[in-house]
Symmetry: C2
């Protein structure tokens, strides 16, 4: 049973929520999406079934919340990569590396397909897209990224191209980032 | 009722098959994947239900056959683009344009997700990948494509990057191809 007794009600609720999301992620990894039941999630999280239903009405909403937490974590990592010192192009390159590594494991599985449906996934895609677009636009203003293609389209190109990292070998990820970045830079 | 009486048994079988696939594609487009039934397919194709079942055991196999026919058509279009006159780079560019246009409509819909599961879809992906890889390798031997990244990885990059055409506006497709091609060419 995890330590759930923390100082405030808000902390307590967050700890329960996190325990539920961790338990669900572990169960899905172990046995696949289709066979996970709310009862198992409650057991694994160390809470009662009735308590679980006070937090989440069904498994779908648990998975959506888990995915939102993942996306928030990924955005935090991308923000950390962006906020390093360097030129706009350095920071763009750092973000593309981080993004490529985060893309690994996004393998078109049944779980990924289930998570990527729906409104929360659309919002997540939009946030990631806007994040990349801003960096691209900044590097373009510095004259380090091509200006013959709108930043919006370049951001679409980046996120599409880097999705190839999902199935790539470790050594290939840096090469994929280099190729993708060369597409952004060249203006012939 | 379509004209199904042709010269040979093989021609006849092919005509029935094509009528079934056309009927299925039309029904899916009209009413979505979930509600299409074999009886409707038979009606629309102008054949009896018993005849339909001699060709296909279930709707899933009809859809797989339809997707295989689509892939074969796409490969034929890519081959036509490849076989134009010009340098290896010209032909690569022509194929990337054709590929980008063919990617439009691959929108992550339920139908696409259903079609892209399973062994026949894996085989189709492999064929498209090998097709692009060969062209990339040829242009690399000509010194027109970078050689610091293996053709296999460059082919993965190309197919991933061009998937952004799926949601792009018409005017953006040529720009996406240009950006993707610049990623292939640059060797800094």
């Amino acid at each position: 049973m995890p330590k759930l007794w923390t100082d405030t009600v808000a902390d307590h609720r967050r700890a329960v929520r996190d325990a539920v999301l961790d338990a669900t992620a572990a169960l899905v990894a172990e046995q696949g999406l289709a066979s996970v039941a709310m009862t198992q999630v409650a057991d694994r999280a160390g809470i009662g079934r009735a308590t679980l239903y006070k937090y989440f009405p069904d498994l779908e909403s648990v998975l959506a919340a888990w995915h939102e937490r993942q996306v928030a974590g990924h955005l935090a990592q991308l923000t950390a990569a962006r906020d390093r010192a360097g030129t706009a192009l350095d920071r763009l390159a750092a973000v593309l590396h981080a993004y490529a590594w985060l893309s690994r494991g996004h393998d078109g599985s049944q779980l990924a397909a289930a998570l990527h449906r729906g409104a929360h996934a659309d919002a997540a895609r939009r946030r990631l897209h806007d994040f990349v677009r801003e960096l691209v636009a900044e590097a373009a203003r510095d004259g380090r990224v091509r200006t013959d293609v709108p930043p919006d389209e370049l951001a679409d190109y980046v996120t599409a191209a880097l999705s190839a990292a999902g199935a790539a070998e470790d050594a290939a990820v840096a090469r994929l980032v280099a190729v993708t970045l060369d597409g952004l830079r060249a203006a012939r």
